[in-house]
Every structure is written in C-alpha cells, then in structure tokens.
Symmetry: C2
Subunit: 299 residues, 2 copies
C-alpha cells in the first residue's frame, strides 16, 4: 500500500554481540598462531563520579567477554595534574599495555586537553589525540572515535547504505558530530556520503533534516527530533543518552534519546532505539580499537 | 527593480595587498620593539617542473614584499627520498628558519606522505601534517591550510557573512574542500556556517548548490558550475585554477576557474574571479602562517 513504510529498528545490542564474538574468535586464533599475550586495555578513572564509574565498569566487562586483559587504575579525586601526567607517561612506556583511556570528565582542576596531548597516539584507543584526528581526516590508519565508528559499523551490518546518500548530522561535538561528518564524507569504505553538519548556529535545523536520507542527532536534548522534522522513509540514528528520573525503573533513572521515538518510528525506514542502539556500538568500537592497537597497525 | 541583483566581484588582489601591508607593518613594529631577526620562510623545490617553479617564485617574491627573509633550496629531480628526508630534518633543526614548505608535486620515486610526516609540525606552514590537521579540527592553535584560510579571510574582509549561512562546498580534496568544510563548521571565528560537502559520490550536485547561500567550487573542472546550478542572490567562490592553452595571452596559457563566470555573474550577489580571486589569498595565507611560526604560537 502507498505511504506504508516497514520500519526496521536497528538492534545495536545484537550487532555489538556479533562483533564481540568475531573479536573473541580472532583473539583466540591469534593466540593459537603466534602465542604471546592477549590484547590489553587499561582504563584510568579519577574519583568516583557516577557516570564515569558506570562507563568504565562496562568497558572492563566488555574486555573480559572478548578475551582481552584489562586493568582498571583508580586514582582519588584530589590527584594533581602532574601526578596524572606521570601516570599517563608510565602507561605510554609500559610494553604490557596496548592501549589505554583516561575516563572523562576529569575534576575541574585538571585540564583534559593536557592529559589527552600527553597520551602516546599509538596507545590512544579513544582517538582523541589531535594526531589521530588528523590522520583520520587524511584517510591514514588511525584510531577512530568510538561513537562515529560504531554508527558506521551498525549501518554497514544492517544493510543501511550510506554511500551516495545525503546524511544530515545534528550536533558538532568533538567526539561525535564533527568526526562523524568527516568519516562519512571521506572517499573511503564507510564514507562517500554527502554530509550536512548542523549545529547551534544553524537557523532552522528542520529545513535540513527534512531533506535528508539519513538523520543523525547527537545533541543530548531529549525529544529534539520530532516526526515533522523528517521525511517519509528516511533513516534516523539517535545518539542522545540523557539520564532522566524514572521511578518506574529499578535504578530510578532511564536513558532518553534525542528523538521522539514513539512518533518518528512510524514514518521512517529504519531507526535506532535508546537504549540498545548506538550505545552498545560505541562500547564495541573501543574493543576494535584495542585490537588494532595490539596489532600495531597505527603508528 | 525586482530580480535585479547588484553583483560584487570580490577582489582577491586588493584584499591580499591590504593584508601584506598589515604584515609588513607588523614585522617592522616587532623589529623596532624586540629587535632580532625577521620571519624566515624556506621553500624546497625538487626539479624544475613548470607549475611548482612558478608557485615557489611567487612565494619568495611575496616574502620580500612583506619584509620576510626567504631561502629557496633547489634539489635535482633525482634526489633520493632519504636525501630529501635528511634535508627536512636539517630544516627542522635550523633555528634560523621559522617555517618551511616542500613544494608539491614531488617526483614519483618520492612518497609525499613520508616527507610531510617528517616535517616538524611547529614549522609546517603549509598545515599539511596530520598533527596540524587534527589541531585544526579540535579548534586548537594550528597552521591552517592556505586556500581555506584565504577564502575565509577574503569573505571576512569583504563583508560576506558566512556564520549562520548554508555553505555548499564542492570537492573534498585534502588541501581545499575537506579542511574548508571543517573550518566553516567550527564554533569559532570564521566558522558557524552550516556546511554541506559534495564530491564525486554525490548523485546530483546541483540539488545541493541550488539550496546554498554560498557555493564554493574546488574541483579543477573548468566551466563546472553553470547559472542553472545556483540560486538568485547567492555568493560563489571559485577555487579552480586550470591552465588552458590561450594564444591570445602572452604566455600562451590562461587560468580557468570552475565557474562559468560570464553567465553566473549576473545571478549572484558576489563572486570571485579567476585569476585575481582566491589565488592571491592563498599566497597571502602562507605569509600569515609564517608570521605565526615566527611568533611561536603553534606548539
């Protein structure tokens, strides 16, 4: 029938599980072939702030599941910037660690930029160091930022074609919107889309999203994207993960995306849910980067 | 009268001269204040291939005009990659040189990527090193690529507002289209535009250019942009500089842009000519980067 679109809800949990299984097999095969140790990720957590704590716990758990080693390094909230820089230098030198992350946000007395600049780009599995960002832009081998990489992988594995499509990305953060727009534009696998990047200085975002084949929203504003802002049959990727109070949940909080899923779902060809869409793909991207680090392909 | 647009031809020669005068004054003032030497640019030219030769000659002439020192280092076409790398290392170490460029293209037996990676990012006044590209993306102090920087400066100094506008960039080269789209999107001075980047995998470029407030064409395809591809009252920036045979010129060749100037000019609010538009601005951008290098603000 005309006007009826069969919507596909893109299952990030299933796709991420698939990838974790592949990584697990690859690690086992490499072990059998070459011996030696398994990939090893270290995570540095400063203080015990809720968000960071949960993220790091997931990262460590994910490592276990794919057969990686992991080391969780905790430091008190009053660690000095100099002490944290010393720790980064130690990890840079440690031959037993393939890659490491310093969980953000850091307490206000520490400049995150300084910490990121101190990380050896060869171990920068978050892909935040400018050397990695520049290599990404130029199409060189690099650690790609986790969320953009996860989104591209999710589309690829669920037959959502991006090449040749008009993708409108809403939000220009350094960790999602901006690098995603760069990756999607490149003349490379996972790229070749025509990308429009919208942001806080765009007078009317809806003008652009309505023209898009694919809309990616990465603002952190619940309910931002409404049904009237997208065209019939497009694809919607929701990167938002805002914690809101929700007494119906065991933990008292729920995750909310940037898309009004209930009304947009009926109009689109495919959409990612929150939770269970982009989130699990972001997590698995860190594992892919750690595997890459262990293989030594970025240098 | 309705439909009549007063077109402004953006004069790159005049604007570049203005900037050179400012640089000259700044150099003189710095000399008077701090003494010491003037900014010093070195240019490495391998072989005697026509294009590179002319470009380097202009760069040296420009230095002279603003009171910089310049050194032109010529090497024969059969220099080995190892020898050229040695030269780069020497220039990296030389405290008398603030910044240097290795003129491209290089002969086929030399990998340009290897040469660029060997340049100390602090002296990389072309802004081609991934460390500079990454710093640019992240909004850190960096050497910006000359043509994108020149375009933004040309607009700024001729009251062509880009912030809040929809800019469609056609062409995703590493030296023009791709970095320009990044610079224009940033939450920073010279940015805040909504940018769409079109390229060879865009099914119908005209769909996008017709929607644009500002169109930038950087393809190297003469006559690519025709009047039917732009909307009434938009701004057109022509980055094309293709050499074509032209017996009417003294040199027997002429430069041709990517825009059919004769038909587009009547439709737009502003447009850059070729020659005399973006070209002179690209040249002056190298001087601005050299001045920046001498001041030591990028590190």
């Amino acid at each position: 029938m005309d006007g009826i679109v069969k919507t596909k809800v893109l299952d990030g949990n299933r796709t991420a599980r698939e990838i974790r299984n592949e990584i697990f097999r690859e690690v086992r095969e490499r072990q059998a072939k070459y011996g030696g140790r398994v990939p090893h990720l270290a995570a540095v957590l400063v203080g015990t702030d809720g968000g960071g704590e949960a993220y790091v716990r997931f990262k460590v758990k994910d490592c276990l599941e794919v057969g990686f080693e992991s080391t969780l390094i905790r430091r008190p909230i009053n660690i000095t910037e100099a002490e944290l820089l010393d720790l980064v230098h130690e990890l840079n030198q440690d031959p037993a660690i393939d890659g490491f992350i310093v969980q953000l946000p850091l307490p206000p007395h520490i400049d995150p930029g300084k910490i990121i600049m101190a990380i050896d780009p060869k171990k920068d599995v978050d892909g935040f160091h400018p050397a990695n960002v520049g290599r990404m832009v130029l199409g060189m081998e690099a650690f790609l930022p986790a969320t953009p990489m996860g989104i591209i992988e999710l589309c690829k594995r669920n037959d959502v074609e991006l090449a040749g499509k008009h993708v409108v990305v809403v939000g220009r953060s350094h960790i999602v919107g901006s690098p995603l727009s760069i990756l999607l534009s490149r003349k490379q696998d996972g790229g070749n889309a025509t990308v429009t990047l919208c942001h806080s200085a765009t007078p009317d975002v809806a003008v652009h999203t309505r023209r898009a084949d694919v809309v990616v929203v990465a603002l952190g504003k619940p309910d931002f994207l409404t049904a009237d802002m997208v065209s019939e049959g497009c694809v919607v990727i929701d990167v938002g993960t805002t914690r809101v109070n929700d007494p119906s949940k065991k933990a008292g909080v729920a995750l909310r995306g940037d898309v009004r899923f209930d009304e947009v779902v009926d109009k689109v060809a495919a959409i990612t849910p929150v939770p269970g869409g982009v989130g699990p793909m972001t997590r698995v991207a860190l594992l892919l980067n750690t595997l890459k680090a262990a293989k030594g392909v970025v240098n």
